[in-house]
């Protein structure tokens, strides 16, 4: 005989997820699982859909931050953003313990939930760090900057602060081609994330929008990149283990090199 599988579903957004978590945290035993609404319902599942409510999400976030501190919250966020299957469900389960025990709960790696959480968070964190180096901006003719990325994890939220601090005077967009979302930054007014972003181009190529100097600078950079390698030390295996080939598509200096998969 199967027990009924109680679940709480949310719309896929982070605030929506927090609302679902709030629901699950308050629920009585058996603790419902938190799942994305896009996941099909199973036969033995009893699902309740939670509406996104930003105030409620913010309240839970603040409460947990007070209890566990910013580092723990970042771990939870990173795990949520990772592309590890059911990372959201895991993060919600971890939250139950975090609410009671604080950040200390995350240190308990003998608990499989915490171990999975740490690995998921690490994955997203590492990718975000990687992209801090791999984002390539192109200057458009209107003086703004555009960078396409294709990360496995949903890292925009994790890198937005870094780029806004560093390029505070630049108007820029970092565009996640796979998810369609983008970080938009305006000098003086900070950054925001839009769910669906598109450049105003008809033929799908951004070449027409680039500034005059852009192509020259790219050529300078490619030349530098090719020159800096020491020929007797050439080691393509090492290169692609440090920089796996799936990153190569959108990196200026790899243009025309046999890396596309």
């Amino acid at each position: 005989m199967h027990d009924t599988d109680y679940t709480v579903a949310y719309d896929g957004s982070f605030p929506g997820f927090l609302c679902a978590c709030a629901e699950a945290l308050n629920a009585r035993e058996p603790v419902p699982r938190v799942v994305k609404a896009t996941i099909p319902e199973t036969l033995f599942e009893e699902r309740c859909m939670v509406k996104r409510d930003d105030d409620r999400a913010a309240a839970l976030w603040a409460r947990l931050s007070n209890r566990a501190g910013p580092d723990a919250m970042r771990t939870l966020l990173e795990a949520f953003l990772s592309d590890v299957p059911e990372a959201d469900t895991t993060a919600a389960r971890a939250m139950r313990r975090v609410r009671v025990e604080g950040a200390f709960a995350l240190r308990d790696l003998s608990d499989p939930v915490m171990l999975t959480l740490e690995k998921a968070a690490r994955r997203a964190g590492m990718e975000a760090h990687m992209y801090c180096g791999l984002v390539r901006f192109s200057e458009l003719s209107d003086g703004s900057w555009y960078a396409p990325v294709e990360p496995a994890c949903d890292i925009l939220l994790l890198i937005a602060d870094h780029f806004s601090a560093r390029f505070s005077t630049m108007r820029f967009a970092i565009h996640d081609l796979g998810r369609g979302s983008a970080v938009l930054h305006e000098p003086g007014s900070g950054w925001s994330i839009v769910a669906a972003f598109g450049l105003d181009i008809s033929d799908g190529k951004i070449d027409g929008l680039l500034s005059d100097r852009e192509r020259d600078i790219r050529r300078h950079w490619q030349l530098y990149f090719d020159t800096i390698a020491i020929e007797p030390r050439r080691n393509p295996t090492l290169q692609s283990s440090m920089l796996p080939k799936h990153f190569w598509n959108l990196i200026t200096e790899m243009e025309g090199k046999t890396g596309s998969t």
Binding site: R213, Y224, I230, R233, L243, T252
Partner: protein, 534 residues
């Protein structure tokens, strides 16, 4: 249309980055320089790699020379005055524009600027400082700036460079005074080490003077500056003291007593009389008032251009970490450039040796090892087939097996197969429940190696017997004799593997193809492969 100026810049960029690429320093870490309103850029304290070149080295900074014309004649260097190469020099403005253009596109984390010696060391320094100043003040740029100091530059200019930069460094290059005199006759130890002392102070650390090694009784301990001298003929490697005590007359050498106080050790480890680099760095005090150089200094040693042993190189490196607060020592495999008789004609850069030295260096910085634990006068060179940690473990079998449920962090780190990340995970995970082989595996421990050196049930340590024939030798808690045999087997296999990876991969691909239409059986394929390998 490309303008003439553009073509010229491209030409210069090619020459001047080609001339700078042999400096191994790549890091952009150590500085949290904040962004300023209306300015461009900031520092990322952990450093960020931006790409990896075809040789697999990380590219983080735009690494160029201001000029590759040089008055000096260092035999290992492509830019030496006796080498016939095209020369060029950036106009400061040109370089500043290049840096800003690259930085805004997020190609780079910052600039690494060095230069050949033009005029005298001081004028060269002044020109480099000029570029730094323009970047910081006019462009309000706060990216990472690594400046190279010229040996012999005045302390005032070196301090001035430190004011604008995140890191300033000077390369020692040759691991002994004798080699320096022979290979780089224009540079003197005094010129190099006085700059290092100034840099050490600029990062808030009063340079120490380590006592000389016991073998080195002729030294006058009050001399803190190195003196030039010693034989100018190549010194056979074996005659060099392991710590380089005789390699650098009067210079800090690996010693049995450091100037830094010896910590108290618990009884489980053998008494050590000197701090490890790891400990010294952890508790290091840097005076915030005199510290203007956030990321401190680094240096580089060329490997293979002179006859010093690995022990001499590592001894010197350890000393530099302890006495001068060097943040990193880079080891650069000598790439033969031209036919200068003062340096050996190598078939290629000694990459494996360089790799082993880096591994040993990691053992200093993150694992709490001391140089004399890794190498000694009777074992002056690192093992080619075994990594230094594994080699140490096999020499010190009496310290194993380690009980993962009880051992301290540093003890765990000494187990082959356990690195800093897994050691932290072990410490975290065992707080709540006892560790089992399965839980260790899920924590990311390389059980293939670690299994022979750890014990999960301490009661089994005493009276351990080899397992009956036929049991799985990869079982944790197994007797060390078997572990050792296994590792020694790995030792034989590994170099072969390195050579053959490429070949085997190709073969596998071919096999896969032939799997679809081929008639070979698996065992016949294996036999064939074996034959080929032999």
């Amino acid at each position: 249309m490309r303008s003439g100026a553009d073509v010229e810049t491209i030409h210069k960029l090619e020459i001047l980055s080609d001339a700078a690429k042999y400096d191994a320093s790549c890091s952009s870490s150590g500085s949290a320089r904040p962004a300023v309103p209306g300015g461009l850029g900031n520092g990322a304290v952990g450093g960020i790699c931006h790409t990896w070149a075809a040789d697999g080295r990380c590219v983080s900074l735009l690494k160029v020379l201001l000029s590759n014309a040089c008055l000096y004649d260092c035999a290992y260097c492509v830019n030496r005055r006796s080498n016939d190469v095209p020369r060029a020099g950036f106009e400061p403005e040109e370089l500043v524009r290049l840096v800003i253009d690259f930085y805004k596109r997020n190609y780079i984390e910052g600039l690494f600027l060095s230069s050949g010696v033009t005029g005298c060391p001081d004028t060269t320094m002044e020109r480099m400082i000029g570029v730094a100043k323009t970047l910081r003040t006019r462009e309000r740029w706060n990216g990472y700036l690594h400046l190279k100091a010229i040996p012999g530059a005045s302390p005032e200019l070196v301090t001035e460079a430190a004011r604008w930069a995140d890191r300033v460094s000077v390369n020692i290059e040759l691991p002994s005074a004798a080699s320096l005199a022979r290979v780089a006759p224009d540079k003197s130890p005094a010129a190099i080490f006085s700059v290092m002392r100034t840099l050490s102070r600029a990062s808030g650390f009063e340079p120490r003077r380590l006592l000389s090694a016991q073998t080195d009784t002729t030294q006058n301990p009050r001399h803190s500056l190195p003196q030039i001298g010693g034989p100018t003929v190549p010194v056979p490697a074996t005659s060099l003291a392991p710590g380089g005590a005789s390699a650098w007359p009067g210079l800090p050498a690996v010693s049995f007593q450091a100037a830094e106080p010896a910590p108290a050790y618990n009884a489980t480890t053998p008494p050590l009389d000197r701090q490890s680099v790891h400990e010294a760095r952890k508790g290091r005090y840097r005076n915030p008032e005199s510290a203007v150089l956030p990321a401190g200094q680094t240096t580089q040693l060329v490997v293979g251009a002179s006859p010093e042993s690995d022990a001499a190189i590592l001894g010197l490196a350890e000393n530099l970490y302890l006495a001068y607060d060097v943040r990193r020592v880079y080891y650069s495999a000598f790439v033969p450039a031209g036919t200068d008789p003062r340096v050996p004609a190598l078939p290629g850069p000694p990459l494996l040796r360089e790799h082993r030295l880096y591994q040993a260096d990691w053992l200093f910085r993150f694992y709490g090892f001391r140089a004399d634990e890794i190498l000694s006068p009777d074992r002056p060179n690192l093992d080619v087939d075994l990594d230094p940690k594994c080699a140490w473990a096999l020499r010190n079998l009496d310290r194993f097996p380690v009980d993962v449920n009880k051992a301290e962090y540093l003890e765990l780190l000494r187990v082959p197969g356990i690195g800093p990340r897994s050691a932290v995970r072990i410490v975290k995970a065992r707080q709540r429940s006892r560790l089992t082989p399965e839980s260790l595996k899920s924590l990311g421990i390389v059980m293939k190696r670690a299994a022979f050196f750890i014990n999960l049930r301490p009661r089994c340590i005493a009276g351990q017997r080899p397992p009956p024939a036929g049991t799985n030798p990869a079982r944790p808690g197994l007797c060390l004799k078997h572990g050792m045999i296994n590792i020694l087997q790995m030792k034989r296999i590994r170099p072969q593997r390195q050579r053959d990876t490429e070949k085997m991969r190709k073969q596998k691909r071919k096999e896969k193809e032939s799997d679809h239409g081929g008639t070979e059986t698996r065992s016949s394929r294996e036999r064939k492969r074996k034959r080929e390998r032999e």
